[in-house]
Amino acid sequence: MTVFTEETRARAREIIARYPADRSRSALLPLLHLVQSEEGYVSPAGIAFCAEVLGLNKAQVGAVASFYTMYKRRPTGDWLVSVCTNTMCNVLGGQEVYDTLAEHLGVGHDETTADGTITLEHAECLAACDYGPVMTVNYDFFDNVDPQTAVGVVDELRAGGRPVPSRGARLCTLKEMSVQLAGFADEREGAVADGVPGEPTLRGLRLAQEHGIAVSGFDPNTPIRSKAEAAEKAKAAAPKPAPAAKAEAGTPAAGNGARPAGNAGAGEPAPAAAAAGSTTRDVKAPDAKSPEVRAAETRQPDAQTAVPDAPGTKVPADGVPPSPRDAQEAEAAGAAANPPAGDGKPAGDEAGAQERNLREAEAGAGAGSPNASDRGAQK
């Protein structure tokens, strides 16, 4: 435990302070990044440190640390080289890049070179498919790599150089990066400003710019209708075409935002019946609860099931007393907003019903000033 200095402790307190007082466990992920920034991996000492500052036990912290791939369980090099081998990058050559690097460095996935400089891993989609195949060094991107450029990058790193990423900021070490992941600003002068958007990012925009395409009809002073007005409008103008949605010339050269024709649609909000069609699996209105559901709820980490050995989670907060009665009230409130099957229909099946219920619930809730929920657990 002596690894961690008073400075680390101060940072830990700063992290914990970002979250509501009785919800300090929310700080666990950033804290794990923090201890990784000290040691290059999440060591047993790091786990003990997190457990201590949050009032958890080590098993609880370990269970979380082992769930996430960015927490390393063995010492890492200064440079974490991740090659995307998910399908798109893979077929574009990413697998070859990875295989070449593995051979060149003499290490496999999640292994560190003998000189301790580079840890190699193959990664799943890094969300830069338009730049594929990509690899990252400490999570900053090198785009459109091939085996040669990739070898060039790692050789430069091993020789003590700092190759410049294609986008993003200049490189920092993995430990320095972990400080940022813990939620602290990148203190390096100008690092936030580094990196301009790459061409693929701008492609659609450039095309629009070249051909003088813009979206027309945008008036930032369009008034926000009050609820009463909106309701009136909806009543009066159900199937009326939206005024701006006419086909106003497909000639982009004219410079006016040529809008595609034929989408004139309606003063009525999107009929969500269709929406429900594509989302039923995910989103339904709360329903009468089965015993199974209740059991699952009990297992949720909510106020009433605060872990006994987690003092951090037990501090009573105004507004969130951890009593079952409170939970029942909340349930009732939830049901009020989305009454299940009041009209004999299964809730969630028909968005019109939801809308209706909602309106009733809102009416019941009264005008509610913007500050109605001022109290809460906030400071």
Partner: protein
């Protein structure tokens, strides 16, 4: 490269992406000159209920894949319940093929911050979180910087612009788990637990973060809000289709001349998108593609004219998803592509539900066997049977997503599987890669 036809070009709708052209738009000064925080000033003068109504009227639907009507979601938050409310932005972008939120947060982070403030005001939340994918480090740098700038200018904190509305916003980095893009897993992760999905109901609208009413929205959804507040619902609906309104960022990758981000009116077709992207790469012919990430069933060259909106893609037997169109050609093997996706789902399954945990484990092994030339005809039945036992049988959609490429590739490309099994295709995986596969 041929220039796209005018009628195709006319489908470009640069709205959310527009500021990316201004290299300094991530700085608050530049952002303010480009309409920045004007929507917030306007919104704070309106009643929160009117804002919810405005979003309902706009027809805005979630940009994270499911397409749930945003205004409806906001309206589900019980008001006057005495509990704290939360807004959580899902910025855990990681669906294979998807790459639209990262550039948005990197090049226009204030649009998201402004959207967060307006949305929080509408649902009466005094605390908001942006849960950003851990690996997205540069986007997180810019976002944290934006949040700091917004505090300094009084757009965040106490009594925002004299409105008596308070809001604290925290940017919270994840730690490498795709599953945390699932909203309830995200909430568990944000609470400091393993990111595992919760059983619903209860829904986050009543029992979300810290068991309180919570709205979870995607980056693109929240970043759309300031534009709707400024331009109005009617203007927003001039773009897109009746049921899928507004512009959408289509992320094109793969065998096309110019991969990249194309913000277009919803309902554009793949044929038009490929035209915008300069056509297919020389020597490549379209063979299969995903309309919205790997969790959406594959489509083929037959589907070039399917309107890419929520209804159109559903009618074609797939899902619009995240509009991440990954485009593969006749030089790519659908069996291998599916295998790689399955490796992904196998790796990312959180292990909570048996069908997904075990099903993906075994399907990966079946694929390895097929691709090494040792597959049998029964393997194909095994795959379909396994999919049957995964689909709809787990807490969240991860397992469902894993079955998408399997069942759709078997539907359209069964011959490719048979070619491996019957020895007409050279094995794609060597014995070395098969260690432990039996």
């Amino acid at each position: 490269m041929t220039t796209p036809r005018p009628e195709t070009l006319a489908k470009l709708t640069p709205v959310l992406t527009k500021r990316w052209l201004s290299p300094d738009a991530w700085r608050i000064g530049t952002y303010e000159k480009l309409d920045g925080y004007a929507a917030l000033r306007k919104a704070l003068k309106a009643h929160p209920d009117d804002l919810i109504q405005l979003i309902k009227d706009s027809g805005l639907r979630g940009r994270g894949g499911a397409g749930f009507p945003t205004g409806l979601k906001w309206g589900f938050i019980p008001q006057g319940d005495g509990k704290p409310h939360y807004l959580v932005v899902n910025a855990d972008e990681g669906e294979p093929g998807t790459c639209k939120d990262l550039p948005l947060m990197t090049h226009d982070p204030h649009a998201l911050v402004e959207g967060v403030i307006i949305a929080s005001y509408a649902i009466r939340a005094n605390r908001a979180y942006i849960y950003i994918r851990g690996e997205a480090v540069h986007a997180a740098r810019r976002l944290r910087n934006a949040v700091q700038e917004a505090y300094a200018k009084g757009y965040l904190g106490k009594n925002i612009l004299g409105s008596r509305f308070d809001l604290d916003l925290v940017v919270h980095s994840g730690a490498g788990a795709y599953i945390c893009g699932e909203e309830t897993a995200l909430l568990d992760s944000l609470e400091g637990f393993r990111g595992q999905p919760r059983l619903r109901p209860p829904f986050p609208a009543t029992h979300g973060l810290y068991a309180s009413p919570t709205v979870v929205n995607n980056v693109g959804t929240i970043a759309s809000v300031p534009y709707i507040v400024l331009g109005g619902a009617d203007w927003w609906r001039t773009m897109g289709t009746e049921k899928s309104s507004g512009p959408m960022i289509y992320s094109l990758s793969g065998r096309i001349a110019n991969p990249g981000q194309y913000e277009c009116s919803m309902g554009i077709t793949l044929r038009e998108l490929i035209e915008l992207a300069g056509g297919m790469q020389p020597g490549h012919n379209l063979r299969f593609w995903t309309p919205g990430g790997s969790s959406t069933p594959l489509l083929t060259a037959e589907h070039l004219d399917v309107p890419l909106d929520f209804e159109g893609v559903a009618a074609a037997g797939s899902i619009l998803g995240t509009t991440a169109t990954q485009i593969f050609s006749d030089q790519d093997c659908p069996v291998y592509a599916t295998y790689r996706w399955l490796e992904f789902y196998h790796h990312e399954s959180c292990g909570k539900c048996t069908p997904c945990r075990e099903g993906n484990y075994w399907m990966v092994r079946v694929y390895r066997r097929i691709l090494s030339g040792q597959g049998t005809h029964e393997d194909l039945d095994t795959l379909l049977d396994t999919c049957d036992n995964i689909l709809g049988r787990s807490f969240c959609g991860l397992g469902d997503g894993a079955t998408s490429p399997v069942t759709s590739s078997l539907k359209y490309f069964k011959q490719d599987y048979l070619d491996y099994i019957e020895g007409r295709n050279a094995p794609k995986l060597s014995d070395k890669q098969l260690v432990g596969a039996h």
